[in-house]
């Protein structure tokens, strides 16, 4: 058992992009509810945006995630209110397991952004014009790298560098490596034990 789990800091993300256009893309679209009857998040990647990617006969439809050129993408570029709907963590999990490491968008639903942070995935925001320009660029340059600098709050693609914004708490959590509450809290195991033992109903980690 590794008590000394290091939480990686997330200072930058570099990789090619994929544009998913549209506002108010909800978690039901990202991962339809019927794929939640599973015991691990492991295989969820292949069901990301399933109903947008496949028709009733499971034939591929036109969708950026189906395009061979985007198969290695690690940055998803989206529009407004991405990830709204239910609180299911299955949504960011599915996208992460498909291969996404970071999001750039006009705005994100609060719970979705929180769930992403718990996985160490930045959700960077920019105005509509900036986002559209990046989307157009990744569509033309599917192999081109986007370089996200979390501390400087910038994204560089081709010869262009644009400003994006990350919410303060998220930026701090990513840069200081405190986004993973498991590791963070595990480091306090001794204080946890003391708090527990001071309770009238716990003794030696058991209920009494």
């Amino acid at each position: 058992m590794s008590d000394e789990l290091e939480i990686p800091t997330v200072e930058s993300v570099t990789g090619s992009g994929v544009a998913i256009r549209g506002n108010d893309i909800d978690t039901d679209q990202i991962i339809p509810a019927r794929f939640m009857k599973v015991v691990t998040f492991d295989g969820l990647g292949e069901f990301a945006f399933f109903d947008q990617r496949f028709d009733d006969a499971d034939n591929q439809k036109d969708h950026p995630l189906n395009e061979p050129a985007h198969q290695d993408a690690s940055v998803m570029v989206v529009n407004a209110n991405f990830g709204c709907g239910s609180s299911r963590e299955h949504a960011p999990q599915a996208l992460m397991r498909w291969g996404i490491d970071a999001f750039i968008g006009e705005s994100f639903a609060e719970i979705f952004a929180g769930n992403c942070l718990a996985l160490g995935m930045p959700t960077l925001e920019a105005d509509a014009e900036t986002v559209t320009a990046i989307q157009e660029w990744v569509e033309v340059n599917p192999d081109g790298d986007l370089e996200i600098d979390v501390a400087a709050e910038t994204v560089t693609y081709g010869d262009t560098t644009v400003e994006v914004s990350v919410d303060d708490a998220q930026r701090k959590a990513l840069l200081e490596g405190v986004w993973d509450t498991t590791a963070l809290m595990k480091a306090n195991a001794e204080t946890v034990r003391e708090t527990a033992e001071a309770l009238p109903y716990v003794e030696n980690g058991k209920r009494v």
């Binding site: 058992m1 590794s2 789990l5 009857k37 599973v38 015991v39 691990t40 998040f41 492991d42 609180s87 963590e89 999990q93 769930n115 718990a118 996985l119 708490a169 701090k172 959590a173 200081e176 405190v178 509450t181 498991t182 963070l184 809290m185 595990k186 306090n188 195991a189 204080t191 946890v192 708090t195 527990a196 001071a198 309770l199 009238p200 109903y201 716990v202 980690g205 058991k206 209920r207 009494v208």
Partner: protein, 473 residues
Amino acid sequence: MSEGTLYDKVWDRHAVTRLPTGQDQLFVGLHLIHEVTSPQAFGMLRERDLEVAYPDLTHATVDHIVPTSSKDRPYRDDAAEEMMAELEENVRESGIEFSHPETGEQGIVHVIGPEQGLTQPGTTIVCGDSHTSTHGAFGALAFGIGTSQIRDVLATGTVAMEKQQVRKIEVTGDLGDGVEAKDVILEIIRRLGTEGGVGYVYEYAGEAIENMDMEGRMSICNMSIEGGARAGYVNPDETTYAWLEGREEVPEDGAFEERKAYWESIRSDPDAEYDDVVTIDGGALEPVVTWGTTPGQGVGVTEPIPEPEALPAEKVDTARRAQEHMRVEPGDTMEGYEVDVAFLGSCTNARLPDLRRAARIVKGREVDPDVRAMVVPGSQQVKAAAEAEGLDEIFTEAGFDWRGAGCSMCLGMNEDQLEGDEACASSSNRNFVGRQGSKDGRTVLMNPRMVAAAAINGEVTDVRKIKEVALNE
């Protein structure tokens, strides 16, 4: 900020430290797990080579996917079987106690926790299920958590949380005939809205709550989440202590008295400060039923269904769509609304007193021939106790299907589902479109006696018009 409330006291006793994220790290006294939301968290633990930190403070059951027709293995539904097998493996590996169907103690997580005395005042309780608020009925601080948080709790015995505000909801007076805890909470949600409780914990108080049995308090706390509050609680009192005494996990004799002193100490102080106080006249209530597709769209059974336009602007659209889906007209009452299915079950209303009250309506009568009616007891123990009193016979003689314990048609994740556009009188807590397994299904939430009456008459019925029959207890 609140001060001197049960919430403040229990929070302080369990707070480990302030995290760099600004949240408090809170010790978890009881972690309940079930088959739907826990397997992914165990998977994450394995990925990181971590172990369960407090297996003795963790307890498992299976409820969402279990068939209620037969407990024979393997389950007919492969996905259900896989989830069950995974849970069995996880609890075995980690040494976690499991109320397995073979033990006779299986049931809906929010029914078995209290039943076994796992749920106690002054403790913190979490579960990957939003209706964990139920356990607040005992004066516990209990709330639902997400999958990453389940991982946190498994690995560390703690959860990262921000403290919320406390709203006291005082229900005054005596509830009238036919009016129950369910009606009180439906009224609270109707009045304060489904988002009214966001950022708040609800403290339920007042004579109506004090005079209520534990099962009624559980029904109320259960639906806190439908009102947007992640947790709700009732201060523990003699009713609580009497209910707990003698249960499996509760200390006995001298230790019980000692523990009681702790329970008394965490009650909200008489001069506690609240962030908000709301008063509701319990004496003025009538049975409440929903007319729409959110739990906040409720109405007294004899009252007219509202005109969407008469509602606050942001609710007009949803109300209109809800009325279309439910096929109800503003100005009508819900009385007389035809139902095809009657579901008596769920963690809101499937405990012994719920079934007893419903049986008093059903006894000697017959279910309408066009209605399929079922009783799904909340746990195997509830089922056994009901059978010992002969309630099963009363229900089956009337034409109800008497089933095994589980979540069942509350969410239709097993084979118990609505079909097509069936309308269902349901004692459960959510009437969202598609909730009971059919996207065209129509759910009308109500108290268990009202469900019984609807089953008999084939339509929503004011239970006060039906004469109750005494049971030979």
